[in-house]
């Protein structure tokens, strides 16, 4: 039940984050150049938004993969191992992604 709820909640969050992402990154209003992108990436508010986006993507993807794998009867006995692997992968990816987001600074 927790996995189900986590996946649904992050799905709602992703709708918001992806909408924002598409508007800001792919269809930005007005002029866009390298310096403006760097300025945005260095902005602390955007860093928080990007970290939350990353968190939502990771939770959604890993819970989804977990649910799909748990459908396979042969995998079911390895539930704990699957949960452990998902948490570990999630933590590594989150740490790596967060470090990347925090690395951006203004020139």
């Amino acid at each position: 039940m927790r996995v189900f709820v986590m996946q649904r909640l992050t799905a709602v969050a992703l709708v918001l984050f992806l909408t924002l992402h598409m508007i800001v990154v792919h269809y930005p209003p007005g002029h866009l150049d390298f310096s403006r992108v760097m300025e945005r990436l260095a902005n602390p508010v955007w860093k928080v938004i990007d970290i939350l986006f990353l968190l939502a993507v990771l939770i959604h993807a890993l819970t989804g993969a977990y649910a799909v794998l748990m459908d396979v009867e042969r995998v079911t006995p390895y539930k704990r191992m699957l949960v452990g692997t998902a948490v570990l992968l999630g933590l590594i990816a989150f740490a790596y992604g967060t470090a990347t987001i925090l690395a951006f600074n203004t020139f």
Binding site: M1, V3, F4, V5, M70, D71, V72, E73, T76, K79
Partner: protein, 262 residues
């Protein structure tokens, strides 16, 4: 297409498998004479009576109420006793009948339903009445709205069409399955039942409602037009407020003997 009173020759392809003789299932074709009213079950009976007495299939009531004759016809699960051959002919004028998929074949069109019944028993499909002290002295008086809510689930004939059509069941026989979850829905929403929390704990577990992928195959397959997916969605919501729902039930049962709304 044969009109009333006329007959036409049609080909019925039936999946055959005798575990004592055959290495794997195969399709056998039979030519039969069908009228506009010939049902698939009539066709199978005709094949068994006149062409091949070894053909094995389950059937009983012939009135779509016993649930024995669920099979896979042209790729869809259905009862064969209430479907006419004429309406199911493919472009080549054939009908293909196979046993219910994803279940072990015992012989020909007969499948082993052990997992179906095992999962059914997991949800405790019987009514669990209130303890002696809490039970009404006379009859249970349930509100019309409460009865109406259960109508959808209580006409299930346990044919197995939904269970065998479910892709989650196909992957994992530990999944409780739409048939049993529909029954759990019936009991959980029944105001006479005293164990909604226990039931919701079972259906809210690893093998229960949260494993459903809402593919809707169960709705598509149900010969009674029932909606197991709606039942599963309802149980999902109730499982998340299990204890509060159980407390509401205790309150409701205090007025079960009077007919008053709780």
């Amino acid at each position: 297409m044969a009109k009333n009173g006329q007959t036409q020759n049609v080909t019925i392809r039936v999946q055959r498998f005798n575990p004592d003789v055959d290495a794997k299932p195969y399709l056998a074709s039979y030519e039969i004479e069908a009228t506009a009213d010939t049902t698939l079950l009539d066709a199978l009976e005709q094949i068994k009576a006149t062409l091949d007495g070894s053909l094995t299939f389950r059937r009983s009531c012939r009135h779509a109420i016993c649930g024995s004759c669920a099979m896979n016809v042209n790729g869809r699960n259905m009862l064969v006793c209430n479907r006419r051959v004429n309406a199911l002919l493919d472009r080549r004028g054939r009908v293909t009948i196979r046993p219910l998929p994803y279940l072990p074949i015992i012989k020909d069109l007969v499948v082993d339903r052990t997992s179906f019944w095992e999962q059914y028993l997991r949800v405790k499909p019987w009514l669990i009445p209130p303890e002696n002290g809490a039970a009404p002295a006379g009859e249970y008086r349930v509100l019309p709205a409460e009865v109406e809510a259960l109508k959808m689930a209580e006409t299930c004939i346990m044919c197995g069409a939904c269970y065998s059509a479910c892709q989650v069941v196909a992957m994992n026989k530990q999944y409780i399955g739409p048939h049993a979850l529909l029954k759990a829905f019936l009991r959980v929403l029944d105001p006479r039942d005293a164990a909604p929390a226990e039931r919701l704990e079972i259906v809210g577990g690893d093998d229960g409602v949260f494993r459903c992928h809402t593919i809707f195959n169960c709705i598509d397959a149900c010969p009674k037009g029932l909606d197991p997916t709606f039942a599963i969605e309802t149980l999902r919501k109730l499982a998340q407020k299990r204890l509060a729902f159980a407390a509401e039930r205790v309150e409701r049962q205090k007025s079960l003997g009077t007919g008053r709304d709780a």
